[in-house]
Amino acid sequence: MSDIPAIEVRGLRRVFDVRQGLFAKPRQVVAVDDVSFSVPAGSVLGIVGESGCGKTTLARMILGLLPPSSGDVLIDGQRLGDLDRRARARLIQPVFQDPFSSLNPRRRVRDIVAMPLVAQGNIAGDEVKRRVGEALERVGLSAEQGSRYPSQLSGGQRQRVAIARALVLRPRIVVCDEPTSALDVSVQAQILNLLAELRKDLGLTYLFISHNLAVVEHVASEVAVMYLGRIVERNESEALFAHPQHPYTRALLDSVLTPEPGLGVPDVGLGDTMPDPANIPPGCRFHPRCPLAFERCSHETPKLTPNEAGFVECLLAEE
């Protein structure tokens, strides 16, 4: 394994202009705000965080589907902008959250899976056929299922199609945006076991976005926690789950609903005012909702404090 990280992002930022009316001045939504990290080849970086905090936007920038407002993405040591579309497709592939809308309903499964190969433009027909067959088999789909349309498959089978399509070019990196949230727990386990097996056999690197913290704990080697466009804590998976440092990370872990009847739904004291990405608070961006906030938090921006394998961005950790 090389020392060059599979994914490296530096100072990544993305701003959207949002208009509130025809004549109103557009407001700026800062979806991703100065994010930097690297993912070593062969490892899994889990990304968790509040909905709307910028995870999908980050993933789309890493995949080259959305240009950053500023900052760089390096894939396997090469700047994303320097790679042509086909070379990029051979390196990095997505599995999106929604198996329903990310597959073309008018194409048969095997044609959907063949698309990335065909788009390369230089792969012979029978080679395409062979590799599609191989990819379908790898994800546990039969040849008969390969000739169906997406609407004739169950949610779990459709997600397998999306994974087969992502793997058919044998990429080094797969970006998974909520790959199992539409699936029942048994099919979810099958898909996660498949992803783990592929990682072992093919040495894949994953960026793994999920709201399911138990799943992230299971698959990720490191975890990054995002809040309002920034990574506020990053650490080895084990350390992060054993002793979360950022108050937001703690709130997340405390909100997990374990399957124990009678315990009700916890209120972790974040209040009901969600953050407004068009109006980011000064100081620590989490302070208006933080149960542990003190005076300095409202005007002093926390620095990164190193932990086992990453950092935490909180004034309490600086003490």
Binding site: V18, E50, F100, P259
Partner: protein
Amino acid sequence: MSALLDVRNLRVTFGGTAAVRGASLTVEKGETHCLVGESGCGKSVTALALMGLLARGGKREADALSFAGQDIRNLGERDMSRLRGDRMAMIVQEPMTSLNPADTVGSQLTEVLRRHRGASRAQAVDRAAELLGRVGITAPGLRLGQYPHQLSGGLRQRVMIAMALMCDPELLIADEPTTALDVTVQAQILRLLAELQAEFGLGILLITHDLGVVARIADRVSVMYAGEVVESAPTAELFAAPQHPYTRGLLTCVPVPGKVKRGEPLGSIPGVVPRIPPGFVGCSFRDRCAYAHAACKHDIPRQHAGPDHEALCTLPPGWTDRAAA
């Protein structure tokens, strides 16, 4: 008093294939009834059939189907659409398919109230902003002016929840309403639903894959497999003493935070849901069941494991206790 929603032996077919082959369930006023089961087992089709929203080609039959004491099997489309979005509301599984991409969030939200209640534009905007606040969306002004594709997955889902609540429904059918949400927002939404139940006696039929959600909020759980409700019980009983081998399998697949072992495969139920041919008799789970025997190829009895606990299985009630001993 009759239940708010009463469904008996619901069947839905698309052309020759049966998507739902016998679903019975009730939702009382103020009750939360959760429906769980394998992908593709017919949960969404059941929900859509109850709302009269089946896709073209879908055919619905039922021995009984009533809402607030009224038989709705033969209601015309006009009467049905008067109920829908007003007294019975639904949150569909894929928000993107039911939001109009060409229209702002604000006008889609306000439209519901204006159509059903004849509210003025200003009243409707106030109500929309209030509900967006309650589902945890700040800066409603900003969000009301946005188009669906400009929202994150979780924001879209919350817009759908707000839309379903616009007219204070008596019954809410929610199909995976919190899957796109992080756990803190999920907790907030679930607490909001509990408040509405306490305030207005809202009845909820909730479809979810998240057994953590089920455990924490359901009064009653029904488990579907291959188009049938195979087990139904009060929540605590279902988790403590599952009867049907499918239910048991499902419960062992849940990854529990702090208890997962990295590097080891997660437990899953081997095999896939079979295709059920017309005229099929017996238990549809038998090919995947470790306890299958000859009787599973014949009609399956609906057995009582408790006064309020039913399972569609040949195994004697209480067998799990003995299996565990």
